[in-house]
């Protein structure tokens, strides 16, 4: 089943104090099946964050449309957009975006509280997730009292707790060292294996190698994609590095 479909997406930024225009996305087309784990890679400035923000409804497209389960996101009313974001999407950010005034537990519960979920249900949902992510010992601490890797796992827990249709992650390993990155990616892979759809932006070939499919973006358009298939991890990594090299040399792909 197609979960997410992106058609002819275009985004033009107009600078605030001049007429200078930046075309961040020219024409983007792709779709994601339910249960997939897709990575998006590309050079800095190629439009990855822009794409993700439009899918997250944090930003509007200049033209084109994003369909979730067949219905266009641009048709969601302003009033419903927050609830939509809370209930349907899960976010993981590069800089965690945890709130210092909440404990770890309250940070995770935040989207549920905003949806006015009964206290009992919240607590029932919380425990299995924090146990699974290995942060149950820290739930009464504050964000500034735990490590970066732990913070990102808290953010994952916050994204998961609403049981979203899709998790959107923008460079989730960007602020982590390699060991913590490895750990986080294993967690995401595990989550994906339970059927959770994930769309992730990353610069790291290693992180991308945990996904089933990788889209390469260049100059605001999908330029190339590779599937993992049944390939072992090293072989997939190899193919990713090769694709990246070709991408950055701006040469033609020959496969």
């Amino acid at each position: 089943m197609t979960l997410l479909e992106i058609k002819n997406l275009k985004k033009v930024y107009t600078a605030r104090f001049s007429n200078q225009q930046t075309e961040a996305l020219t024409t983007v087309n792709f779709s994601i099946e339910a249960g997939e784990f897709v990575s998006i890679m590309g050079e800095s400035g190629s439009g990855k964050t822009t794409l993700l923000n439009i899918i997250s409804t944090l930003d509007d497209a200049t033209s084109g449309e994003v369909f979730l389960e067949g219905s266009p996101l641009s048709k969601i009313k302003d009033k419903e957009i927050s609830a939509f974001r809370r209930n349907t999407l899960g976010f993981i950010f590069q800089d965690f975006n945890l709130l210092d005034n909440f404990t770890i537990k309250d940070n995770i519960l935040l989207p549920l509280v905003l949806s006015k979920t009964p206290v009992r249900e919240m607590e029932e949902r919380l425990m299995p997730i924090v146990k699974n992510l290995g942060i149950e010992a820290h739930i009464d601490k504050f964000p500034y009292e735990v490590s970066g890797g732990q913070k990102q796992r808290v953010a994952v827990a916050r994204a998961l707790i609403t049981q979203p249709k899709i998790i959107l992650a923008d460079e989730p390993t960007g602020a982590l060292d390699s060991k913590a990155s490895q750990n986080l990616m294993e967690i995401l892979k595990g989550i994906n294996e339970t059927g959770q759809t994930i769309l992730m932006v990353t610069h790291s070939a290693q992180a991308a190698s945990f996904s089933n499919r990788i889209l390469f973006i260049r100059d605001g358009a999908v330029y190339h994609e590779i599937y993992r298939g049944d390939a072992p991890a090293e072989q997939f990594m190899d193919r990713i590095s090769k694709s990246l090299k070709v991408l950055s040399s701006r040469g033609e792909l020959d496969e």
């Binding site: 939509f84 709130l99 935040l110 989207p111 905003l114 206290v119 919240m122």
Partner: protein, 660 residues
């Protein structure tokens, strides 16, 4: 690296932190202006000359604002420096030595303090002049009240605030010298910790408040009220801060524990936010509460004095025409004849004007000082002899009956008495060499009796007065001022013009300028001057009320704006994960109880407990009517609550605009 480098760096820092510095400068400027204006009133002619009790009250007010300024500037500074910890921590990491960081901070503090002190003084001067002009125009007193200030007050203001800013500088430097860079980088994130021993603080706050309230409730007489008022105010202010700090944290934590309350969107955001900066939140609320109390007390008391002007005039001059007869020291008995002769003369004068006496009162009395010991009234030589002397007024039954319209009879060894503290309960009282069987009566002798501890004794006839005086002279043979005095008061028929003509005539004959041992006062002739003075009070009251209201606006504004900038990032993150505008509004709404209801309610409680002491102070100014006070108090509370509601709404909109 020279000073120039550091000073330009400091200037750049201030500019690049505009968002933080503009509210900070604005609020410190206003508080300096407030202090300067208040201190200038000390020099004011009206304040110095109207009443001897007014000056000490304004000294008190100035000290209170001074203390308040210290707390307020430290509070705003702590906001500022917390938000800049990371930035300044970076200097350390980039290799600036601590003494260099201190230098930068020195210049920053220097610039901001010079700027705000200068602006505060200039603003104070302009505002003071303008506002006095406006008020003079509105109140239209017979004589304008002139705004004045002196270089001494300017210097005192500069000195005080340089010292306060000096403290903030030391505080800021200590923050950076004793913390390691990593901690500094995290400085903005970390929430405030609950103060140690908050239970003890809570108990202490109740003790201080109870003590302050206790002073007010048990104050025996007005003269003591002036001296103790300061202590009570100070206790209540400190108690309020401690109460808010310990109490609000206590309540917030309890709310957080209650999951059904805490895990609702509005409460979730606001409670966690308030706990995150629990001390700042508490100090901010306490600031609002204290200023609110000051506004209510200043305006409601002066309003009472103004509204009660007619009544105080009547207390001071119980009849349209009042005459005091001063006895002759050489010939004490002379009064007993002059008393009746003078009443006849007055009667004749009134008839001569074609008017009639409609109402009158007259009584003779002797005044003694001393104190009750057991069931004897022990004489002192004079008023100055004793710490708290009781004033004793002795009057004959004949005059008492005439004055009250009652018809008591007394045996030769019987007497009636009134005691202002209601402490005397014996059935016998010895006065000089004679012991009377006594019965208590209500206060028929005027509210003046309650100003200081006093006693009135009604003896069977005028000869007893003379006997008591003889006994007194036996004890203190060198006393040379013992007399019997008398009061005569009467109303007449006739129009206002006729009354005025009579008053002018009598004033020429017996008034202050005429000399002699009788003194005539006409209520009619005193009225204008009287209203002028009481209008002056109202003038000062409105001025102070306005000053404190501006303070309230400012503090509320500062609290909302600085918290808004503090919270902005959080709200943006929350919006990303699905917080909608309505919930933001809901969370700002759930502040109402804290920001609006709490300060107003506690301020009202303060003012209710201040009632007894304020009432005693009002007695000094001749106000005795409790209803007037109560009504103007209720009116002022409601009016201020309404004004504060507007302030609250506007500033919370500002907050909303910042965070959304």
């Amino acid at each position: 690296m020279n000073n120039r480098f550091f000073s330009s760096l400091a200037l750049r820092n201030i500019k690049s932190n505009k968002q933080l510095y503009i509210p900070y400068l604005l609020s410190s400027t206003t508080i300096i202006m407030m202090f300067y204006l208040m201190a200038s009133l000390l020099d004011n002619e009206f304040v110095q000359e109207r009443s001897s009790s007014l000056s000490p009250l304004f000294v008190l007010g100035t000290i209170v604002i001074g203390i308040f300024s210290v707390i307020f500037i430290l509070y705003t500074n702590s906001f500022l420096i917390k938000r800049r910890k990371k930035e300044i921590g970076l200097y350390g990491i980039l290799g600036l030595e601590k003494k260099h960081v201190a230098k930068i901070l020195f210049f920053e503090t220097g610039f901001t303090s010079i700027l705000s002190i200068a602006a505060g003084l200039v603003g104070g001067l302009i505002f003071g002049r303008l506002f006095f002009m406006l008020l003079n125009y509105m109140v239209r007193l017979p004589v304008d009240i002139i705004y004045s200030t002196s270089s001494l007050i300017v210097l005192a203001t500069i000195g005080l605030f340089l010292a306060i800013f000096g403290i903030t500088f030391l505080y800021n430097v200590s923050q950076f010298t004793f913390a390691n860079p990593v901690k500094l980088l995290k400085g903005k994130q970390e929430g405030e910790k609950e103060p140690k021993g908050s239970i003890i603080l809570f108990i202490l706050s109740l003790v201080l408040l109870g003590w302050g309230y206790g002073i007010s409730v048990t104050i025996p007489d007005p003269l003591e009220a002036i001296t103790k008022f300061f202590l009570a105010v100070l206790l209540v202010i400190i108690g309020t801060y401690l109460l808010f700090i310990s109490g609000s944290i206590f309540i917030l934590k309890a709310l957080k524990k209650n999951k059904q309350i805490y895990y609702r969107p509005g409460a979730f955001i606001s409670i966690s936010g308030m706990l995150y900066r629990m001390k700042q939140n508490a100090v901010g609320l306490a600031n609002i509460c204290i200023l609110a109390s000051m506004v209510i007390i200043a305006v409601s008391t002066t309003l009472t004095i103004f509204i009660g002007a007619e009544e105080t005039l009547e207390n001071r001059f119980p009849y349209e025409n009042n005459m005091t007869l001063f006895g002759d020291v050489e010939n004490v008995d002379e009064m007993n004849t002059r008393f009746f002769e003078l009443q006849d003369q007055v009667q004749n004068t009134v008839y001569a004007e074609g008017l009639e006496v409609t109402e009158s009162e007259s009584y003779r009395y002797a005044t003694f000082f001393g104190g009750v010991q057991g069931n004897e009234f022990v004489f002192d030589q004079g008023y100055a002899d004793q710490e708290n002397p009781t004033v004793l007024m002795v009057l004959p039954l004949e005059d008492f009956n005439g004055m009250t319209g009652k018809s008591y009879t007394l045996d030769d060894d019987a007497a009636l008495y009134y005691h202002s503290t209601n402490a005397y309960k014996d059935s016998e009282l010895t006065l000089g060499n004679k012991t009377y069987r006594v019965a208590e009566v209500a206060n028929e002798f005027g509210e003046d009796m309650d100003l200081v501890e006093s006693m009135a004794i009604v003896v069977p006839d005028a000869s007893h007065l003379l006997e008591i005086q003889d006994d007194f002279k036996e004890q203190y043979p060198e006393t040379n001022y013992l007399t019997i005095d008398a009061e005569v008061g009467w109303n007449t028929s006739g129009t206002e013009e006729q009354k005025e003509a009579l008053a002018k005539k009598l004033n020429g004959e017996y008034g202050l300028g005429a000399g002699g041992s009788n003194l005539y006062d006409s209520r009619l002739l005193q009225r204008e001057e009287w209203y002028g003075m009481n209008g002056g009070f109202l003038f000062l009251g409105i001025f102070l009320g306005l000053l404190f209201t501006i303070g309230t606006v400012l503090i509320t504004y500062f609290k909302q704006v600085s918290e808004g900038f503090d919270d902005r990032e959080k709200f943006q993150i929350m919006q990303k994960v699905g917080l909608d505008r309505e919930t933001i509004q809901e969370s700002t709404r759930s502040q109402i109880v804290w920001m609006f209801v709490l300060p107003i309610v506690i301020a009202t409680i303060h003012v209710i407990f201040a009632y007894p002491i304020v009432r005693k102070l009002l007695l000094i100014f001749g106000v005795t009517n409790e209803t007037t006070w109560l009504l103007s108090f209720v009116g002022v509370v409601i009016a201020f609550a309404a004004i504060y509601w507007v302030i609250y709404r506007l500033t919370s909109k500002t907050y909303y605009r910042i965070v959304r």
